[in-house]
């Protein structure tokens, strides 16, 4: 028995504990230094930064859910998801700025939306020829046409319609670009996704704008808010409530859908073993389409909240890619394939970007970390992939031996 080595035991370093306790401790020490020793910032500043981080993190979480759902089910890093988010943001912008629309456009748009409604109804009823599905589609068409051609829209209505529109876009992307590649090498799929991303980006440049777009749907939610705490005044806006709450509602709805409904169970089953799910009678293609629908809808919601949060939309080529890739990083950090992981990763990334840069402000010769803000996500992504590809709560989905 002398030869028995305990190599596994030697490697059992409690990284979880070290990082989980060490990093907050370091942050605490840094805050203490800045507040009490250097006296450069007050506690309210950090509270504000934390609230902002929560806002941003919620947005990343919404986008990250789309990545994680699609990856979970077809093992595709949907490179185009950031662009879907971008389309969602711009769609909502057009909905609340341009409505009511001229009749032809209203009809065209409501046809698209009605098709989305029939798709959803079809998922429920199982057949396109079901009278309920057809009736629902018809009613939706008329209702949407009426609304779009006659009245303006507030941000919430715009958000819901933008979600539906973008959801349809997600389904179309899957149908046109990804579905022909089922069973193809994953790399081919990834290249296609990159191409779709590029396509949407440049189409966005043509159809939308090449400039910064102000995003002001005229809601009181964007008003400033300030409140005094013991250590000073926190400056923020009402969005600090809105964004996390909307996110929480959507995430809760998604979780309920996935765990409680038949289709949600089919989705989980397909993610675990698509072929067997098919053998149980699950129409896997339809389940995948549903995944794209839901993921894109969440991304669109994220787009609306993003617009509210920043008050403007960047040009299409920039708007999609950076939040997109950051949200992907969030999904990986949390553990790709896991819904709670996406939320955790999103919030964590939000904190990293907003809170950690607040910890290292520009002082004297030191330029601060703000200019590296955008690289954090990439750096963290690389580190996580190298050290723990399964993320915080996920299981290992990397290729098997």
């Amino acid at each position: 028995m002398s030869l028995v080595t305990t190599r596994a035991a030697a490697r059992r370093i409690p990284w979880g504990w070290i990082l989980g306790l060490g990093i907050p401790a370091l942050i605490f020490v840094r805050i203490y230094y800045l507040v009490a020793v250097a006296g450069e910032r007050d506690l309210a500043f950090f509270l504000g930064a934390a609230l902002q981080a929560m806002q941003l993190g919620s947005l990343y979480a919404l986008i990250a859910l789309g990545y994680t759902m699609v990856y979970g089910i077809i093992r595709l890093i949907n490179f185009a998801h950031g662009e879907v988010f971008m389309v969602g943001a711009f769609t909502s912008y057009f909905l609340f700025t341009l409505a009511p629309f001229a009749l032809p456009w209203a009809l065209l748009w409501s046809a698209l939306l009605a098709w989305g409604v029939t798709f959803v109804l079809n998922l429920w009823r199982g057949s396109m020829r079901d009278p309920l599905v057809l009736a629902g589609g018809g009613v939706a068409f008329v209702a949407f046409a009426a609304v779009l051609s006659t009245s303006g829209l507030n941000w919430l209505a715009a958000m819901l319609l933008a979600m539906l529109t973008t959801g349809v876009l997600g389904v179309v992307i899957d149908r046109v670009a990804y579905r022909p590649l089922r069973g193809a090498p994953r790399i081919s799929l990834l290249i296609t996704a990159i191409a779709v991303s590029f396509l949407l980006q440049n189409t966005g440049l043509i159809l939308f704008t090449r400039n910064q777009t102000p995003y002001r749907p005229g809601t009181s939610w964007t008003e400033f808010l300030q409140f005094d705490v013991a250590a000073g005044t926190v400056y923020t806006s009402r969005l600090v409530f809105l964004i996390p709450i909307v996110t929480a509602i959507l995430v809760a709805a998604l979780t309920l859908f996935v765990t409680r409904t038949r289709l949600g169970k089919a989705m989980r089953a397909s993610a675990q073993d698509a072929e067997t799910a098919q053998m149980m009678g699950v129409n896997v293609n339809r389940v995948i389409a549903t995944t794209f629908l839901l993921g894109s809808m969440l991304a669109a919601a994220g787009g609306v909240l993003w617009g509210l949060n920043f008050g403007s939309l960047n040009q299409p080529a920039v708007l999609g890619i950076l939040p997109g890739i950051k949200a992907f990083a969030a999904a990986v950090i949390g553990g790709i394939g896991s819904l709670p992981g996406a939320v955790i990763g999103g919030v964590l990334l939000g904190f990293l970007e907003n809170f950690v840069t607040a910890l290292f402000p520009r002082t004297g010769d030191f330029p601060g970390l703000t200019e590296y803000k955008d690289t954090f996500a990439f750096a963290l992504l690389i580190v996580v992939l190298l050290i723990r590809p399964s993320g915080i709560v996920g299981e290992d989905l990397s290729e098997k031996v």
Binding site: K265, A269, M279
Partner: protein, 243 residues
Amino acid sequence: MSDAAQETLLELRKVTTHYGPIRVLHDVDMVIHPGEMVCLLGGNASGKSTTLKTILGIVRVSEGEMVFRGERADTLTTAQRIERGMAVVPENRRIFPKMTVRENLEMGAYLRNDRKGIREDVDYVVNLFPRIGERLNQQGGTMSGGEQQMLAMGRALMSRPKLILMDEPSMGLAPLFVEKIFEIIKTVNDEGISVFVVEQNANVALSIADRGYVLQTGEVVLSGPAQELLHNEAMKKAYLGDV
């Protein structure tokens, strides 16, 4: 319901299938009668699994036709075939590891909408396999191989099938358990459900089946009553001896 007692439950007529340009099955003729247990034997890469997938509609028939319960079935989707009474116990069990045992069973009844009936059938399966009953809320992946095999069979029964297709039920199981599994298969079969078993373990399969087919490179080379096959010289030479 077409219980007009057709002579055949499932019939393959000169079925040929392709993976892309590559022909996998070639002019396969096969019949399963109601209440019968049929086994399909063959070595590695002989097309056994493909036959099963073809019957289930996961692989498309490129030539020939397939009739299930008197209806032309080769243009139906997998879901439609399951609705019409097929169920499968896949190779290696393939239960959903991160769903609970109950959810796994419910996936077997995916195409049914009657909640009450599903609950009854869960009870029925639990009756049949008491060990599953003890673990209804446990995750599927935490069960042993034998329990998973039971779960997979229970899952197949959940759709109230007329025909159960089984892919290598003995694979990876201890010999004692293999016998037990085949006893269970026999029990299921005795209830009037037709069973189609794809097996490499020819001796066990033939000892309880009614009839058997032997597949080689995508073609049926031998067929007949199980007892005959078991003692067929050519069969022994070509197949049994190699196992």
